[in-house]
């Protein structure tokens, strides 16, 4: 079954009958003429799904699913699914969705950035993704950095490294970054070593995942710092010292 159909089915199981009717009607309207109906449906969704919107939903991770849906609110998943219904030529498609970004509230931003990997014409969203990484709003950062396949697939090395470093600075759940091992690189490792030195000089805690990422490229000074850490597994220390 196609992922879109799976998402639809998962969603509809969670909704009340009235909410389901509303979504079915909205689905038809969007497919028929999205430019007339989408903004209203997308923005007012919180009020239309008032009984289910905060329920959390997870889905099995099948490889062909472009989304990683793990404890998403119904509101977020419904918005992402609605976005997946929009079809158009590249230019009007881009203009329309960019406008959604520009007028979005926080929950809308979360859904929009969560959808990066299901938007049509993926390469035209790279700049938008970078813009989102610059956001200071936690929800937005998390929607991109955690459980999102877009950055690992499309970001340049420079932008990827920026995102990974920022996820440490902003206290994200590092293990939820998709493609973290696969996209690891020497430039990132060098930046991490610099960050380790800075944290050490400031006598601040060093995140154990920093060692994990930089382990193949640690200068002597870093190894020395590592040996003083209490929050790193002995196996990792052994592995690095070898």
């Amino acid at each position: 079954m196609e992922w879109k159909e799976q998402v639809r089915r998962t969603l509809f199981q969670q909704l009340s009958p009235e909410e389901r009717d509303y979504l079915e009607k909205s689905e038809k309207e969007i497919i028929k003429n999205y430019s007339n109906s989408f903004v209203r449906i997308f923005s007012s969704l919180g009020r239309k799904l008032s009984s289910s919107k905060d329920k959390l939903v997870s889905m099995d991770q099948l490889d062909d699913n472009p989304l990683i849906i793990d404890n998403w609110s119904i509101l977020r998943l419904t918005r992402v699914w609605l976005l997946s219904l929009i079809q158009d030529q590249q230019e009007p498609y881009f203009t329309f969705i960019e406008k959604l970004f520009n007028y979005a509230d926080m929950q809308e931003l979360e859904a929009l950035y969560s959808s990066l990997n299901i938007f049509e014409f993926p390469k035209i969203w790279i700049e938008r993704c970078k813009e989102g990484i610059r956001s200071n709003i936690g929800l937005v950062q998390e929607a991109i950095m955690e459980q999102n396949k877009f950055p690992a697939t499309y970001l340049s090395e420079e932008a990827w490294n920026q995102m990974v470093l920022k996820s440490f600075f902003t206290g994200k759940d590092i293990k939820k970054i998709y493609g973290l091992d696969k996209r690891n690189n020497i430039a990132l490792q060098n930046s991490i070593v610099d960050y380790i030195y800075e944290r050490d000089s400031a006598k601040r805690e060093i995140h154990p995942m920093l060692w994990e990422l930089a382990k193949d490229n640690l200068p002597d000074r870093a190894v020395e710092i590592l040996s003083q850490q209490s929050n790193v597994s002995p196996q990792l220390v052994e592995e690095i010292k070898k």
Partner: protein, 326 residues
Amino acid sequence: MCTELNRDLASMGRPMPLDFEVIKGMKFVDPHIHMVSRTTDDYQALFDAGVLLLIEPAFWVGQPRTGIDSFKDYYSSLIGWERFRASQFGIRHFCTIGLNSREANNEPLAEQVMELLPHFIYKEGVLGIGEIGFDDQTAAEEKYYRAQLELAKEAGLPVQVHTPHRDKTRGTTRSMDIALEHGLDPQSVIIDHNSEETVKEVLDRGFYAAFTIYPFTKMGNERMTEIVKKYGPDRIMVNSAADWGISDPLAVPKTAALMVQMGIAKEDVQKVTYSNALEAFQVSNHLDLSTLDQTFFADPNDKYEGNTILRGGQQPRINKDSIIIS
């Protein structure tokens, strides 16, 4: 909205020690406060004093905007960054969106703002249209006040009405006349910045009467206490309208403390400092009110994989008694 500063020492009142013990366990809403102009210290103080929810009306930011994008970014920040910032301190942030009276006088820009408003008024976190109304009571102000009342009626949203500093009583009467003329239900209109001179008519005509406790230029809380004693607690609410001027973000809890000390029943104090505002702005359309006092704090010292948990929780505190910054 703030004001010219006329510091009259004689109007500063007798000092009275601040005692929050008497309001311990009480809950507050500040239905008019401009957090974009305030610091994180204020957020922490609001939370400590029991303010669970606040409403930030769109206002004049202290100097006139010269282009539409400044409005767009300002409205975006009210539903975006500022709302997120508040959540980090355990405070629920809502706003009202509107074209303020001063900037209604720049007609070419006002026209563009009117086109922008429908994009924002249905967003998450937007309770109504505000703060709109009269400042100089010009023809342009009236034009855009009327246009926004129509917008509120169409969208079924409450309206937060700013009343002028100069010629206040006449301006307040006129604001209500026009709202009724446009067919708005007075129960969905909050007339703000009332005084002893305006309160009776506002209540008699069925509107909500908000009072701004703002030092030197608006209401003082001793006078406010007298008003509640005289008119009772129904359809009255207090706010701080704290902004970039000398103002007090704790005006609501301080006024509650004073009212309790002056012998007003706690139940009545809670009406004017909490529940009337929730009712007037129809907050229950946006939020399950029974969840309002469930704050979702993580222990700021709690560590998750080596990181302090701040998501949706409380920001760490700096030690104000220490000269060391670490």
